[in-house]
């Protein structure tokens, strides 16, 4: 296996070690950087001027900021859940997909975290949500779902980043050992923490990694439910539903899977990783996305049936969302997140890069409209006579959304450039197993 493996691992390790980034990378990074600049501009303007620059007003106090928050959290949770399940099932797909699925989760939760902080209006006081002994002797109110969110986001960021980094250590050691330039050797050397591949170290590493992967599963379910509870515990008729957590968890999973599919096909195409993320992997991923889209479809049917079974104000509110001023959002969500993915029934579509990109984006767009429909459309019918106002996002809000997409893309681009996107030690292991089975 020796010289084989040596050659086989080269493409993955060569990407981070090459000095040639390629024009496509620079072009993409420039575009993403532009959007990050836009993000900085919108964040500074909302900090200096205040949330008045957004289109939010009573009753629509949760505008694009919370829509995007719920959307990014869905991606983060879906991708995390998927990565954790792959590790636990010891599925072959994990070798190909796990590393960047965790990366997608981490970058998405960073983007998500921006929104609630700036939604506070005075973002520099965000630490007030943390219970610290303040001079004014007030503690956070833990009976409110909003404080649960603080713990959920910070836990997700800390645990996912630790898990991702610990998983990377052996591969960083490979990069350290392959690097030729002293400065590169030194950087990867420090990051690898002196990993020397001792069998004893491997045994502990694998045990700890799998254990934390198990811990991520309940975390994701609780976290996504916490987001849903923020809606469900209010008295708004359309939100006050027990089905809310299920809706958020299931559609979030579809969304996370679709972004993993999108990144997988782009990596395969852009970095020519066809050998490591092979046809079987992409085919399986396509089937998973299709299955999750069908579950989303089931939940939309459930929503309609539940509305028929309810009655009174709740029924009126749900029907207002489906037929009222914002009905377009609701039906767009169904078309993009449930109908378009049906293309994946065809094997050709599952294996095509173009179809993968289209469906990956399509589910993302669909669920974005779903969150929009819930957050804005759900407020049309309330216990109080409506003030007749409507909501439309302003330019700074749109800029904030585009900016986080830029930040996500920039982080992803840096990741694919400087770190191995496919786990090298797992690939080595698999190739060895294949050879001797």
């Amino acid at each position: 296996m020796s010289s084989d493996a040596h050659a086989a691992m080269s493409p993955i390790a060569d990407i981070p070690l090459s000095h040639h980034f390629g024009w496509a990378w620079w072009l993409a990074f420039l575009a993403a950087g532009g959007l990050v600049a836009l993000l900085a501009y919108t964040l500074i303007s909302v900090t200096i001027i205040g949330v008045g620059v957004w289109g939010v007003n009573i009753p629509y106090v949760w505008g694009l900021d919370l829509i995007n928050y719920a959307w990014w959290i869905g991606i983060a949770n879906g991708a995390s859940l998927f990565a954790a399940i792959l590790v636990l099932r010891r599925h072959d797909l994990r070798t190909a997909v796990n590393r960047f699925a965790e990366g997608v989760a981490l970058f998405a939760v960073i983007c998500a975290g921006i929104f609630p902080i700036f939604h506070l209006g005075r973002p520099w006081l965000f630490y007030w949500t943390f219970p610290y002994p303040a001079t004014f002797e007030v503690w956070p109110q833990f009976r409110s779902t909003l404080t649960w969110d603080f713990w959920a986001i910070s836990t997700h960021v800390i645990v996912t980043s630790l898990l991702w980094y610990v998983g990377l250590i052996p591969d960083l050691a490979t990069l350290r050992d392959r690097a030729r330039r002293p400065i590169v050797q030194r950087i990867y050397g420090v990051l690898a923490l002196g990993w020397r591949g001792s069998v004893r170290h491997w045994a502990f590493h694998q045990r700890a990694y799998r254990l934390v992967a198990i811990l991520v599963l309940p975390l994701i379910l609780i976290m996504q439910s916490t987001v849903a509870f923020e809606f469900a515990v209010t008295l708004v008729p359309d939100w006050h539903e027990t089905r809310q957590p299920l809706h958020f968890v299931a559609t979030g999973l579809a969304q996370g899977l679709s972004i993993v599919l999108l990144v997988a096909v782009l990596l395969r195409w852009g970095l020519r990783l066809g050998r490591y993320i092979d046809e079987g992997d992409i085919d399986l991923l396509g089937k998973l996305v299709l299955a999750s889209a069908l579950v989303s479809g089931y939940l939309y049917v459930d929503e309609i049936v539940a509305a028929f079974l309810s009655g009174g104000l709740a029924q009126e509110a749900t029907f207002a969302r489906m037929t009222g001023e914002y009905a377009g959002l609701y039906w767009t969500a169904i078309v993009y997140s449930v109908l378009f993915p049906q293309l994946l029934w065809f094997r050709n579509a599952r294996l095509s890069t173009l179809a993968g990109v289209f469906i990956g984006v399509s589910i993302g767009v669909g669920i974005w409209f779903d969150r929009f429909s819930i957050i804005v459309g759900g407020l049309q019918v309330d216990h109080l006579p409506s003030s007749g106002r409507s909501y439309s996002p302003t330019l700074p809000e749109t800029g904030l959304f585009l900016g986080t997409i830029g930040l996500f893309a920039a982080l992803l681009l840096l990741f694919v450039r400087f770190l191995p996107v496919v786990s090298m030690f797992e690939t080595r292991h698999d190739e060895h197993e294949e050879k001797f089975s």
Binding site: M9, W139, W148, D177, V190, V212
Partner: protein
């Protein structure tokens, strides 16, 4: 030999050869053995009697402590130190305290496991004697190493070299100690 060595290292081409070598070394009565490989080899870990059962205990105990601290602090802050009557709802609303307690339990368990992992492995340790072995950089790629450590009761330079030579390694070299 004036300078005591860290150990004697043999290099192998395949994990099977390494597994054989570890078995032979154990059979020959060596007890202080370390093996290095580019991917996990659970078989050898078992052979060397490496037990990883501390890891779940760290997670479990840390998780319990985290949950207890979170629940306790929520109770103390909202029911004892700063009781706030919100529409007559009970101050000790335990169902509302559960989600954050579970989340923080996971935070403590996850962070303790991964940070504890580094403590158990005594990493970061950027410099280590084994890195001085020529060709050791391929231990992170496609080579497999067996090291018999100097503190083994049966450590004897010449005898070990002879013993390792029989296992047909690619190379045998002495690992110089650091200080």
């Amino acid at each position: 030999m004036t300078q005591p060595a860290y150990g004697i290292m043999a290099e192998f081409k395949t994990p099977e050869a390494l597994t054989e070598a570890v078995r032979a070394a154990k059979h020959a009565g060596f007890t202080r053995i370390d093996a290095f490989s580019p991917f996990p080899l659970p078989g050898i870990a078992k052979e060397l009697g490496i037990r990883t059962s501390t890891v779940p205990w760290i997670a479990f105990v840390a998780g319990l402590i985290g949950a207890a601290i979170q629940y306790g602090s929520q109770y103390w802050m909202n029911a004892v130190d700063y009781p706030l009557n919100v529409g007559g709802r009970p101050l000790h609303s335990w169902p509302a305290f559960i989600p954050a307690s579970l989340i923080v339990a996971i935070l403590w368990a996850g962070a303790a496991t991964l940070i504890g992992l580094l403590l158990i492995l005594r990493l970061p340790r950027l410099h280590h004697p084994v890195f001085a072995v020529p060709g050791f950089e391929r231990a992170s790629e496609d080579r497999f190493f067996l090291c018999i450590l100097h503190d083994d009761p049966k450590f004897d330079n010449a005898a070990i070299r002879e013993f390792l030579g029989v296992l047909s390694p690619m190379a045998v070299s002495e690992v110089p100690a650091c200080e």
